[in-house]
Subunit: 341 residues, 4 copies
């Protein structure tokens, strides 16, 4: 249930509604919108009776929520969420490109790649310090040393950075270094981690699980918003199917569905979807044409020597081409004078 | 095995190689290329010894084929196949849009939609006369009456038409009316039908099976080429996955893979992939951005009254927008002056 | 809609109901049950009004059918279908084992294997004469020569035979030789073939498509029953998933679902599901424990020399063990004295 | 690489080999087998040279490991792992049945169900105290109160208990109460949790991820064994496919594959695979027929009132039948006098 307040509702009226909600044992969550406040009723079991609220001063309407998710839904918040990270804005009307190596391997590797991708047009630098690896015997990332290198990259290039957090234990550490916290595919339903991310002071990028429905994905984001962190972006990275010509099958229909159901931005990771360098540019172009709000792309100056996922990393010159081409597509639908869009 | 002839090879030299191949019990298939002839060796069991051919006059090289498919492969024919249908050319460098209703319902319905889609920019008219239906009790199409209406549409609008053939029994009839013969998803491995299509005098569009690998799909096309018909285009229409927010999951990574492995054009059908009107435009844009050679889109002027698949049919005005947007994307990569491409 | 007649309904009363149905433009199909006749109303578009029928003499009830399939459903025919093939009965209460090579290769191969499997307990001999092959260059079966060998096997061993039919063109030929007509996975929705099978005088085994839902599978069977052939058995053979440790993923939950929804027998093909010899016995045991009505198993005396699918064929001695073990499981639930069952 | 010692190898000889391995920067892990010690070499990057070890006293052989997993593999430990929990032994030759409600709801609910399932033949009681839920607004389990109830059940009935652990934070707490620690599907690749489980003093049951390959699953188990905990059992619970007639598709071919590749016991959870009560008994029978080492089954005395997953919970009398039937199947292959097995 959403209680929609009048545009002129006073703070006292809002407070009264919140009190009335909490008196019934529910949780009240005021959600600022364009020109009015909406108050979500959370943690109700079964339907809520609208009558008592409709009669209160300042209340304009009570809307029953038809989806299992609430805070992430457009029903709850019709305006697109825009996330500010340094000078970069992520969300509708913007095309944000994040790029960098799969794993941070050394300061020199990271800085070399960062300078390349910045020159090509990337706005955010990506790189793994803690790596989730199928095998306990594989390279697990540089850990805190990797985080320090990310901080160095930010200092040298001015680019905000994004890196993955793998567990509660290292969350504070990762949060203290990074600008955006990434939650990976394998942790999409690690509910403890989602709850911790709900308390974070930094934006979160939540990757889709490899066999997750959109509803499960949005419910996972709901955990973060429910915890109080509203700066959440989603990341489509392909789902596991019978197909073997790519590592995963990129599900681009998730973009229109997410954009319709939710106000959160949606980014696409074509590198992990494909698992092969030669599909990354076509899939990047397709993602932007389908109105993704951004891309996260793996780039390496020496992919053959990469400690992880080299086969899917673009060469720097390929990334230059990618940026040029996706911006050309984006510009069609977002012209300065608004003609075609 | 492919025997590559010199540019200057004489017809007699080519004939000698063919004879030599057939003497060994294989089938020889000369394949004209840009500036030279290549001769495919088919129906060999196990490897072929190159030595006897390499010594023959006019022979430049012998190439072992590493994929199970031959005639459809780029190894065999490096140049893109271009298919001419009336004034329309399908294949690399062209963007072909086929549109129309799922099923032909009446002359008036077909003509109304045909005029709409032609005005919006469609070059080829689609419409089912024989419909494969899950239930024996569903509308099965108008049959020959539907084919007559298609002929009428061609006559009135000048657009070539494409329609599905379902079996050997009605193949001659369908072939006599249509400009392009469509083989549907459920028949992708109907090998008798593929063999018959190999004898057809009309181009064939082969849709991907709903759980087919790219190799199986190319092998199905190989059946048609092996039969002698080289005018084959492929049609990606999504694969079946656990996903329920769309009817199928469109696998756009198939485009770069098919373009790399094969010389055949690849078309995308976003309507059957999505099964929902509101995903068709984003998926169409994505397909063209990923370098599909064309689209096949369902359009209906009264989708709520459609006898089949109304929920995925675009309204005419949506199709106008679709055409404008996909051409804008296509033009980026195929400018008159060749700048960006 | 099903019109259920009284137990004492006369042929004249039944005829009147049929006439009344046909007067409305529908098709009437009387279905004999245990002690009464039910009349199915087919080919109605939209709901049928029950009132006119309920008032007719001899009519006991009118039942609205809630599933898209009718003739295959238990609603329509509560009793299990039993199919008699020579001395063998297939269906509830029986465990039928069909075995033999993937493809008939020679008379000596077929007879050798047939004697082995008969001695081990197989009741029906399987072997392909027309083989659906992914590649046009693979062994396509012996054709009519293979059918003649099957007839020879029947003559020599007394076992009925089952073989696959691939198209309308060879249907008469296959039907004239075989005892059970198999329709393969790739043809599950070859509707022309299903219609032809509906006219056949022999029982049909319909394999599940590799990405078919149970509803689609039952609807495909509905085509055959609608054509007039009620001797149809279904064959589960696994569905295509992301899994690579077996060729397909055997979906044993289809057994309880089919048994509940339909009166048709369900057979399992563990050989094509697994694609690997070492999974065939465990999956066979599991299938019988889950109450499959039978098994179809590939056996070859020299699997390493088999012209197709040797890797999944059991050695004769493995098949002996399989028969002994599945019968031991079957006997638990079908004891002579009915104790545990 | 595995260094296989002689049967007569002395502790000093073993120690020398360990020292030699560690001198090279690897980790040495002695693995006791039936009559000899094998020493695993872990954390090597690239191949290890066998020569220096083969010449050492007490060394019988050096075996290169061909799979990415080591400690979980049969190559490394040919004998089946047997896990003792109270009086119950889990592993080859035993059939262990775990049963209970999805979630612990109250002491009275838990004790009522526990007495039912014990009387029917269950050896281990299951019940969730911390529940992973798709929605933050769903019942999340009773937490520590639930653990206390589990302890009460053990005290009253003598049955060991199994419950799920969801995060590092509550791991100590869960470990202090439970007899077997369950790691759920969504956490199969929560590597921090796996590492913590590797330090646990209690056996661990690791459920398969909903889109996990067997290799990924065994690698996840490898994390636990690598941490020092060798009492690990695996639990097959179905994979996500396009199928909708069951919640997941139970992949019984995983049983023969796991039994061949690994020495760890494998349990099946038919309740979560099916998601529907009416498939649980057939799938349980199938699992035991395919040689699972045990079952984990949801049972509730009032499933319609269950706070989670009631639709898949068996009624107590159905569970009685399940136990009787699966034991009858198990007994065929494990008779007292060993006749059929």
């Amino acid at each position: 249930m959403l209680i929609v307040m009048n545009k002129q509702a006073t703070p006292e009226q809002i407070e009264s509604v919140v009190t009335e909600i909490e008196k019934r044992g529910y949780v009240a969550r005021p959600i600022p919108g364009g020109d009015r406040i909406t108050i979500g009723i959370l943690h109700n079991q079964g339907p809520v009776d609208a009558a008592p609220f409709l009669g209160m001063p300042g209340v304009s309407d009570a809307i029953s929520v038809t989806k299992p998710y609430k805070l992430v839904s457009r029903e709850c918040k019709p305006d697109d969420t825009l996330i500010q990270v340094g000078d970069v804005v992520i969300g509708n009307g913007h095309l944000t490109i994040m790029a960098g190596p799969c794993a941070i391997e050394s300061e020199s590797q990271a800085l070399t790649i960062a300078r390349h991708v910045k020159a090509a047009g990337a706005q955010i630098f990506r790189g793994g310090a803690f790596k989730p690896r199928t095998s306990p015997y594989s390279f697990q990332g540089l850990g805190e040393k990797g985080l320090e290198i990310l901080a160095k990259v930010r200092e040298e290039t001015g680019m905000p950075v994004i890196t993955e957090v793998m567990d509660d234990e290292t969350f504070d550490l990762v949060e203290s270094y990074t600008d955006i916290i990434q939650i990976g595919t394998r942790n999409m339903q690690n509910f403890s981690l989602l709850r911790r991310a709900g308390k974070a002071q930094k934006p979160v990028m939540l990757k889709r699980g490899m066999a997750a429905t959109i509803e499960e994905w949005l419910m996972a984001a709901e955990y973060i918003l429910e915890g109080g962190n509203t700066d959440v972006m989603l990341c489509e990275r392909g789902v596991r199917t019978f197909v073997s010509h790519s590592r995963n099958t990129l599900d681009l229909s998730s973009i229109p569905v997410v954009r319709k159901q939710s106000h959160l931005p949606i980014i696409v990771d074509p590198s992990h979807a494909a698992g092969r360098r030669d599909q990354v540019i076509p899939l990047s172009r397709a993602s932007v044409a389908a109105e993704a709000h951004g891309l996260m792309v793996e780039v390496h100056h020496e992919p053959d020597k990469a400690l992880s996922d080299g086969a899917q990393s673009l060469y720097p010159e390929q990334f230059v081409r990618l940026c040029r081409e996706v911006h050309a597509i984006f510009d069609i639908f977002h012209p300065a004078d608004g003609e075609l869009a």
